[in-house]
């Protein structure tokens, strides 16, 4: 099997809109969560949301590109542009090399706009010719494809909040098998109010409205739900020899991908057993033991059920299994700072993990005051730790019972 490496990264998140700022935010344990009273006025229980700025694309892209872009495509473009730049891939390279794109996405809210227009105008022509391109679940990949004029695989992976992670894993398989040499991967999620209403209706969002920066508290006994968040994250995945031949800087090796589904009837319940299997598979794919992992970026979203199941799975794999040396790696959920970035989370958390590995620190799981019993044997880091990190595992799970785990390690 061919080896897969990361040669570029880009991000547009509530922790920053460039890698340097995001690294500093992670080190400082800075929360990106704010209170938006409009959400309460509109009828949501949670007025909490990540503070993600809208990019100004006018100086960067011609109108013909901008008019077909969904909100999440705009974030994705900014992240992708950074990732290609860091990878040293120019527009000329993109035309000479077959580059693919696979992004995690599970829908946007543009259809709601169209509903409103149709209810008043009763004329589909009033939607304009670009409505279709903004509303499709594959809006991000179709837009990136045409902006960068890509010629390789073009695919959107929809698997709820594990979408970004599965997108990276699936791209790894294609590169490892020799079907592609370079794939732009990532995840993107819009920030509009309509994206949050259903999760709010489910009671999944935190209502700690008077304390935004302390509302996301994964693994803490006083957690009460997730915070709606989004933006975009992009990585350039490349076959190792291909990257070496063109003299690219290798940021990390993507050495493991594992997946599983819960196999239970309850559509909203997580499963420790299934999460354990996904992590175990990712380690097997990487050829690593649990004791080789220095840091785990937990999926933990600050929901009551989710954090318990993941804590059980982490304990079983890293503390209770004989090959773990009965010792927990350092663990944190960066969602304590970012909120839940949904379709983007698997990709952004891969980037957060690689940034920690590059800069030898572990970002804190902020707001952890009273650890849940199920996590008592886990080394959940509540303050920034500066230490060499050589291998990381990043977990993702989604509604409907889908799990994904990615393992990255430093390249010697």
């Amino acid at each position: 099997m061919r080896r897969v490496v990361v040669t570029g990264m880009g991000i547009w998140s509530c922790l920053g809109q460039d890698l340097q700022t995001v690294t500093e935010s992670l080190k400082q344990g800075r929360s990106g969560i704010v209170f938006d009273p409009k959400r309460i006025e509109y009828g949501l229980q949670s007025g909490l949301v990540a503070n993600v700025p809208k990019p100004d694309l006018k100086p960067l892209l011609a109108r013909k590109f901008r008019v077909s872009m969904s909100e999440d495509s705009e974030y994705a473009y900014m992240a992708a542009k950074q990732a290609f730049t860091q990878a040293g891939i120019t527009d000329e390279n993109l035309q000479q090399t077959e580059v693919g794109v696979i992004f995690g996405n599970d829908g946007n809210e543009h259809q709601i706009e169209y509903y409103k227009i149709m209810e008043t105008e009763h004329d589909s022509l009033m939607l304009g010719p670009n409505a279709l391109f903004r509303a499709e679940t594959s809006s991000v990949t179709m837009n990136l494809n045409s902006i960068f004029r890509l010629k390789g695989i073009n695919l959107t992976i929809g698997s709820a909040c594990a979408s970004g992670s599965h997108a990276i894993g699936y791209a790894k398989l294609l590169i490892a098998q020799g079907l592609q040499d370079v794939i732009l991967v990532g995840g993107a999620c819009g920030m509009g109010i309509w994206g949050a209403v259903a999760a709010d209706g489910l009671g999944a969002l935190s209502v700690r409205n008077d304390d935004p920066t302390r509302a996301s508290r994964p693994f803490d006994t006083n957690r009460d739900g997730m915070i709606y968040s989004g933006g975009a994250a992009a990585l350039v995945l490349e076959e190792y020899e291909h990257a070496k031949a063109r003299g690219a800087t290798i940021l990390a090796e993507l050495c493991g991908y594992g997946f599983s589904s819960n196999g239970i009837e309850d559509i909203s319940m997580p499963s420790a057993d299934a999460e354990y299997i996904a992590m175990k598979r990712a380690l097997a794919d990487a050829g690593l033991q649990p004791s080789d992992i220095d840091y785990v970026n937990a999926h933990a979203t600050s929901t009551v059920a989710g954090d318990i199941e993941e804590a059980k799975a982490l304990t079983r794999l890293f503390v209770q299994s004989p090959s773990s040396n009965l010792h927990s790696p350092m663990i944190s959920s960066t969602k304590s700072m970012t909120g839940h970035e949904n379709w983007m989370a698997g990709a952004s958390e891969a980037i957060y993990s690689i940034l920690m590995m590059q800069n030898n620190f572990v970002a804190p799981n902020i707001n952890l005051e009273h650890k849940i019993d199920e996590a008592k044997d886990l080394n959940i880091v509540s303050e920034t730790v500066y230490t060499p990190i050589n291998a990381v595992l990043s977990n993702s799970s989604g509604m409907g019972g889908t799990n994904s785990a990615l393992v990255f390690r430093k390249m010697e």
Partner: protein, 87 residues
């Protein structure tokens, strides 16, 4: 609305919204070749015309527009059409 007002209003949205160079906005400028407007832009222009002039061209009518001058004439003609009734 006078022809001059139609021209000014049309040129304003072509510059502001469609980001066309004002120097290119001459009556003889061809939509496709000179102004780089594609078939999707034609559809978009129909919505803009509806918003700006409260007239809705049919797609087939818009396809007859070749130059900017045609476009001004077309809008003027539509504005001067008698209102349709159910009789």
């Amino acid at each position: 609305m006078t022809k001059q007002e139609i021209i000014e209003k049309t040129n304003a949205f072509l510059v502001d919204e469609y980001e066309k160079d004002p120097a290119l906005l001459k009556p003889e400028a061809r939509f496709r070749e000179d102004l780089d407007l594609n078939s999707l832009d034609y559809m978009d222009l129909m919505v803009t015309v509806k918003r700006e002039f409260d007239i809705m061209p049919a797609p087939a009518e818009m396809n007859l527009v070749v130059t900017l001058g045609d476009f001004y004439d077309f809008i003027e003609k539509k504005l001067n059409e008698p209102a349709k009734t159910n009789e």
